[in-house]
């Protein structure tokens, strides 16, 4: 960080940030990551809850399985996604043949790639937080007649609130920084699938200063978003 700041050519910063690819990339990043986080929340929270309350070998292995996308180098993850959802993929081919739609090279693919890499962070962080919540509240809610769904939405969810926010921040940051899976699965086309990290990487190939300028812009955005949201929602 300090190294980065120390070597930044502050004078040229403005010029770099006015490059035409910068703002579309940042806008795309912000949009896709927000969708990703929303999906993480919708899909991941129930999963985290189930994992936190489940016992036995199935849950243990499911939990380990959740870490797969974390361990997999993102590029390999992207290849796996292509093999599954690509035009020739296990799922993608029948869909393409039936409807003529194909995912890769679309913003949807960007979201999918981000979801693939950030979901585990969300689920595992939220699961840890939910496990630290006293299970007796679940029991009390059950005796009051609450269905598992209601226990989840009205008891587990609010009680694990801080953990969920942490998890969402984590997942959002991870999605924002996501590079390998996106480039492999969604490609890199300015305006459609070129997110900020892709723009940074591409810039890095011939003008490190421009790359650094873009990175700093990304960081600024993320600091602002996280700082403000946290400032508002947490104490």
């Amino acid at each position: 960080m300090l190294g980065l700041l120390a070597r930044t050519d502050w004078g040229a910063l403005g010029t770099h940030l006015r490059a035409p690819v910068v703002w579309p990339a940042i806008r795309l990043s912000v949009l896709t990551t927000l969708v990703t986080v929303a999906l993480c929340f919708v899909l991941g929270t129930p999963l985290a809850w189930l994992l936190s309350r489940a016992r036995g070998a199935v849950a243990t292995w499911l939990r380990a399985l959740m870490t797969v996308p974390v361990v997999l180098p993102p590029v390999v993850g992207g290849v796996a996604l292509l093999m599954a959802f690509g035009r020739r993929g296990v799922v993608g081919r029948p869909v393409f043949e039936a409807f003529g739609v194909s995912l890769p090279f679309t913003p949807t693919a960007v979201v999918l790639a981000q979801l693939f890499v950030s979901m585990p962070f969300f689920v595992l962080a939220v699961e840890g937080a939910m496990r630290s919540v006293d299970e007796r509240y679940d029991a009390v809610a059950a005796t009051l007649g609450a269905s598992p769904l209601r226990i989840f939405t009205r008891v587990a969810l609010p009680l694990a609130g801080p953990g969920i926010l942490s998890g969402a921040a984590l997942a959002w940051a991870r999605a924002l920084g996501e590079f390998g899976a996106t480039i492999t699965f969604a490609g890199n086309f300015a305006g459609t699938t070129q997110t900020a990290p892709l723009a940074v990487y591409v810039a890095l190939q011939n003008d490190p200063q421009a790359a650094i300028a873009l990175s700093l812009a990304m960081l600024l955005v993320s600091l602002l978003v996280l700082g403000l949201l946290r400032g508002r929602w947490l104490r």
Partner: protein, 350 residues
């Protein structure tokens, strides 16, 4: 609505084996020493603990039996846990409305119900507060309101009044008693306070070490305790012994002359602490049972005093006026004489 339960269950190395039966609208009070298994019993009835054996049937419908085990949410129970466990993120009203909402009431209906329950327990003005902003006794009343608000078929109350102050407690108790009399379901209330039990319950169940030691309507249990613990709770002195004839029982403190009894053989004798008179010297008069005693402790309670005595190794409790304590200069270690008239002594087979 009736309850028919035979609960065999365990928590860790501890097992309970208790049978409970209760008719429509009955209130059963469960009493017993700390660690006897009262809370374990309630949890088993609520479905938080699986039965090892036995059954729980409410209104003829099995909630647990053999391999059947209805989840708590599918039993119409209301449980007030001893450590009230109010949801920390909901207001008092939100906590009370949680049950009705869970069981399908509209938001308005649930809130109105919550307001009513809170008002009945004198905590309406706390409706907006979070549990963290309530005192202990206030929180307990909110938790009680929450348990009552679901109209359960089986209402389970674990020490519902323990944190209430002495002026609130009788009011809440009286309100609860009235409420339970009209309430069309079975209530099981765990309490350490005999006054709660006597005021609220139709039937007392004493549990010791996981098993029932005495069951019966209050009047019977109060008159004829069958274990020292029960005697202690109902405030009687109790001795075990053998009745050779219809006038005496041989006990650990020697022969006790009774008011007359039919049976022979193994026997309990009991008498009230208020029936025990204390004398500085050995009395000579109509009092038939007289023992030399040593004072163990004196407890002043309001205007009367309870004097714990040791009579030849057995504990004896006497209740006298606060004035007598001063007159007799009672203090731990004092030696004196204790007497009980034969007419005050009851004997019954054990």
């Amino acid at each position: 609505m009736t309850l028919d339960a035979r609960v065999r269950a365990h928590r860790g190395g501890f097992a309970v084996d208790v049978a409970l039966e209760a008719a429509d609208r009955a209130v059963v009070a469960v009493l017993g020493p700390n660690g006897a298994g009262k809370t374990t019993l309630l949890h088993a009835l609520a479905g938080l603990l699986r039965l090892d054996e036995g059954h729980v049937r409410v209104d003829g419908q099995a909630w647990a039996e053999g391999r059947l085990h209805l989840e708590p949410a599918r039993r119409a129970v209301g449980l007030l846990a001893a450590d009230h466990l109010l949801f920390p993120h909901l207001s008092a009203r939100g906590n009370v409305a949680f049950g009705p909402r869970s069981r399908g009431a509209s938001r308005e209906a649930a809130h109105a119900r919550a307001e009513a329950e809170l008002a009945a327990l004198g905590v309406r003005e706390l409706a907006e507060r979070r549990p963290g902003q309530l005192s202990h006794g206030q929180a307990q009343r909110v938790a009680l309101a929450r348990a009552l608000a679901t109209d359960p078929r089986l209402l389970l109350l674990d020490e519902p009044l323990s944190a209430l102050d002495p002026s609130t407690r009788p009011q809440v108790r009286a309100g609860l008693a009235a409420r339970l009399r009209d309430y069309d379901g079975v209530t099981v209330v765990v309490t350490h306070d005999p006054l709660d039990a006597l005021t609220l319950a139709d039937q007392l169940v004493f549990v010791e070490d996981g098993a029932v030691v005495q069951v019966g309507p209050p009047s019977e249990v109060v008159a004829r305790p069958r274990t020292p613990y029960v005697a202690h709770v109902v405030g009687l002195n109790l001795f075990a012994g053998t009745a050779p004839d219809g006038t005496r029982v041989e006990t650990g403190v020697g022969p006790v002359v009774t008011g007359g009894h039919e049976h022979r053989g193994a026997s309990w004798v009991s008498f009230a602490p208020t029936a025990v008179a204390l004398y500085p010297q050995e009395p000579h008069g109509s009092t038939r049972n007289v023992w030399p005693a040593r004072v163990v402790a004196v407890e002043l309670a309001g205007q009367s005093a309870r004097v714990r005595l040791d009579v030849g190794g057995e504990a004896l409790l006497a209740e006298v006026t606060a004035g007598s304590v001063a007159t007799l200069r009672l203090q731990p270690g004092s030696r004196l004489w204790a007497g009980v008239k034969a007419t005050e002594v009851t004997a019954y087979p054990s």
